[in-house]
Symmetry: C2
Subunit: 502 residues, 2 copies
């Protein structure tokens, strides 16, 4: 980009948005170079922080006039490069100032939020009303609604309650042509007419325009909660128990699996006291509106898992013990810090009936590549999270991590799964999309993308494989964007900050 | 259309599909002139009945070559003209022969169906597995999956379980360019990547191509069911009870409202014995996997509605009495036969908190136009079904029905609602879409439609308002398509067959 174009943008932006809404020095831009994926980094040309949807509209209009690429960014907790500038000439539009909870309507069960609002803050505000917003990504204390919409975020409680797309009523959208448009009637009922633009926008990873506000669904919060920890002597038994629990209609609010290595890590880190001989521990959260209902669910859970001869079962209903037990799940990732300085986390989804077979194969892959892989994940919906441990300075080991992750991705698609449940495709996995989807499917996605964003400036060259790009041979991991100047992969020696996301 | 083009198509089709797959005589075509909407009729040029997706592909390819418009049709139970030929030169593609249940996978909770399979037949096949498919439109004993996908069908149990879009995993689609494409990986997990084409196709009313097969989600069927009938002395009390039930987290499988006039009709028709003084009766179905859970739900329901002083409450758990009570709801529409030879049914959705106010206003509209309007509807999700009674030979009354329905539509949008919950826009309501959506929203829907179906042959000129068409003044009801030669509205004297759908 000619410097004069950027200078021109900065001059106009300063006049329109004010100096405090522009970050253009190197130290100011540096924190926006990455998201939570260690492989990718792109230093943006500048960062702008609009305060209103009208300012977002102005920014898009000006970028169009000057031919500047732009990318929306929330909290930067994404794991697939979705919020990285599309090139070093690209602009980041940060939603940090558009962080308001605009309205709560308890009667209709909905709330109006801005894109920059932190997910957990809505729940804090809803608590006094006895309500909650269901999608709860692990990063919910930091991540924002805008990012949740972009990635169609899931979370621990999505096994029962569904993902972001199930809880978004209507979206206010600045289109790539700088129009402000509500996807459907900005209303509170869940029956929009016409074509389903709302569902198309959610999960489009910021490539179809900028999502600024939305009406979201909020639900009555169950008043009684219990957590059960069930240890099993084999992955097979734990996996069969998962299927049996779902088939019994228990519908747990959360159903998570912790593998043997993770058991050791959380015991060591938090003294949770899980059985060390367990090959897998299931954590089920049950929720209800009445103690009798909860008691019934717990009894049914116990009788359902009995045939799979658990090593131990602990159930807790006191808030203190529940918090402590949840630590084994929520602190699992932090506990890996005791065994490795860094890891690479994956996000494939597989059919539930393939859990045991897939985890066994992942263990074999770990052995083959001489790697340590720990698993802690959403078993209820088959969303795996293999964590591949590595030492950031070990270049040769990094290469093995890449090869192993590559094999795991292929394995999961082969057993009938998909590449990503909630972390997105972004830059990281776009080279793999041909594994999951036919060329015709991808072609149609591209046709829709080009119809909505023909300018090619709106977070371009993300999600879909680059044109003419094919992953056959599969050595595309995290390096597909070189030709467009975007998403520069780091050399292993550039991983100094990898410990940030442990 | 020059006759030679049709002749050419028929010659080719006979060679490719066989004579028995073509209906071209007037008596053969006549049953395809209408769906269940009494206002609209278009006699198709011919009807073809493919047996395979490859045959559907051939038909679309041939239509493209010859410039013939085509429209998919399932059972013809639609209420908005979606399955009518786009003009008298248009071809109907009937899915009657593609009616197979291809696979049930109880372990993964999914099934593979063809577009022509009747909705209820899947449930019959699932019953021995203890499973069910949730969306249950009232027409489920006749309507097919293809129509359900086109209209994003709801149903009585959708208050708890969600609509068609929530239960469809992936769709096999013959595009307007005659490609066979799966919307996403034809797999069993619910986490497709890339852009959400699947959700875009569902509810697109057959305008984006032909949906031929799908994987759908099936759920464990609750083993214990109870039904409660609660009579109230005012609409206000019943409406408040609806909100309270939702807020109490009871999550009824169904929550229906029957108004005073309907109470009289069903009492007379079936001797159900509902209190004649009731202004509104709520019907709640509760479902559970254990008797204790069900007992708890019933107790909670009763204590929740107490503050609204019901006139009477009857709960039933025996299958016989449940069937009898459901008759009051499911037979309501048939019972209107005792008070009127015909009616016009509407389908707006309103915020739950506006139930009483909207129903009161609908009663006032009825009075103003000297019409009889009965209401029986899905209160749990605010999906109204006003039934406007009329005598088909009374031209002047028909005009009042049109005017009143027009006012009701405006009213529902004004209180924050939408035009249609489950019956679709089709030809019938496309002139009203400007009431619900901004021109910009509609413009984007059109851009997507034109990107996917630029040929303008695939069920064209449905859903979206015709270009340059604006409903201001609002006298467009059911007559917007004259200019394109499609969806010919009937004069009232043409309503001889209206009693077919009472």
């Amino acid at each position: 980009m000619p410097t004069s174009t950027l200078t021109q943008f900065l001059t106009l932006a300063e006049r329109m948005l004010g100096k405090q809404a522009i970050l253009d020095s190197l130290p100011q831009r540096f924190p926006y170079e990455r998201d939570a994926n260690f492989m990718l980094a792109t230093l943006p040309a500048c960062v702008v922080l609009p305060s209103t949807t009208a300012q977002v509209q102005w920014i898009v209009k000006t970028c169009n006039q000057l031919g500047l690429s732009y990318t929306a960014r929330g909290a930067g907790t994404g794991l697939s490069g979705g919020s990285l500038a599309v090139s070093e000439a690209g602009i980041i539009i940060s939603f940090a100032k558009m962080n308001k909870l605009l309205e709560i309507n308890p009667k209709e069960g909905c709330a109006k939020v801005q894109a920059g609002l932190v997910n957990a803050k809505l729940n804090t505000a809803l608590a006094p009303h006895g309500l909650f917003y269901a999608p709860d990504p692990s990063s919910q204390s930091a991540c924002t609604f805008g990012g949740n919409w972009a990635e169609n975020a899931g979370g621990i409680h999505c096994a029962k309650y569904g993902v972001t797309t199930d809880h978004t009523l209507s979206l206010c959208w600045v289109t790539p042509q700088a129009e402000i448009v509500w996807s459907n009637a900005p209303k509170t009922v869940f029956a929009p007419n016409g074509l389903n633009i709302r569902q198309l926008l959610i999960g489009s990873e910021g490539t179809l325009g900028l999502l600024c506000e939305a009406w979201v669904k909020v639900l009555p919060k169950p008043t009684h909660v219990a957590v059960a920890f069930m240890a099993f002597s084999s992955l097979e038994a734990a996996s069969q128990a998962v299927s049996a629990i779902i088939q019994a209609g228990i519908n747990p609010a959360a159903l998570e699996l912790i593998d043997a290595l993770t058991v050791q890590c959380v015991n060591k880190a938090f003294g949770v006291g899980l059985p060390e001989t367990a090959q897998a521990v299931l954590l089920a959260e049950l929720d209800a509106f009445h103690p009798e209902e909860l008691a019934y669910l717990l009894t049914t859970l116990q009788s359902t898992i009995e045939p799979f001869t658990p090593l131990s079962v602990e159930t807790a209903t006191s808030p203190e013990r529940i918090t402590q037990l949840w630590k084994a799940r929520k602190g699992a990732v932090a506990s890996y810090g005791n065994i490795s300085p860094a890891f690479y986390v994956m996000d494939p989804v597989i059919p539930r009936s393939k859990l045991a077979e897939t985890l066994t194969e992942i263990n074999a892959i770990a052995k083959r590549y001489d790697l340590v892989i720990a698993n802690v994940f959403h078993a209820g919906d088959g969303n795996l999270h293999p964590h591949l441990m590595f030492e950031p300075t070990d270049v040769e080991q990094m290469e093995r991590v890449k090869q192993a992750s590559h094999e795991i991705m292929h394995l999961c698609v082969k057993v009938g799964g998909t590449l990503s449940g909630e972390h997105g495709i972004g830059l990281e996995k776009q080279g793999y999309l041909h594994d999951e989807l036919s060329s015709a499917s991808i072609g149609w996605m591209r046709a829709v993308q080009e119809a909505i964003a023909p300018e090619g400036l709106c977070n371009a060259n993300k999600i879909l494989p680059l044109k003419g790009f094919c992953s056959e041979g599969g050595h595309s991991h995290a390096t597909p964007t070189g030709s467009s100047g975007g998403g520069r992969p780091l050399s292993p020696s550039g991983l100094a900050s990898a410990d940030l996301w442990i």
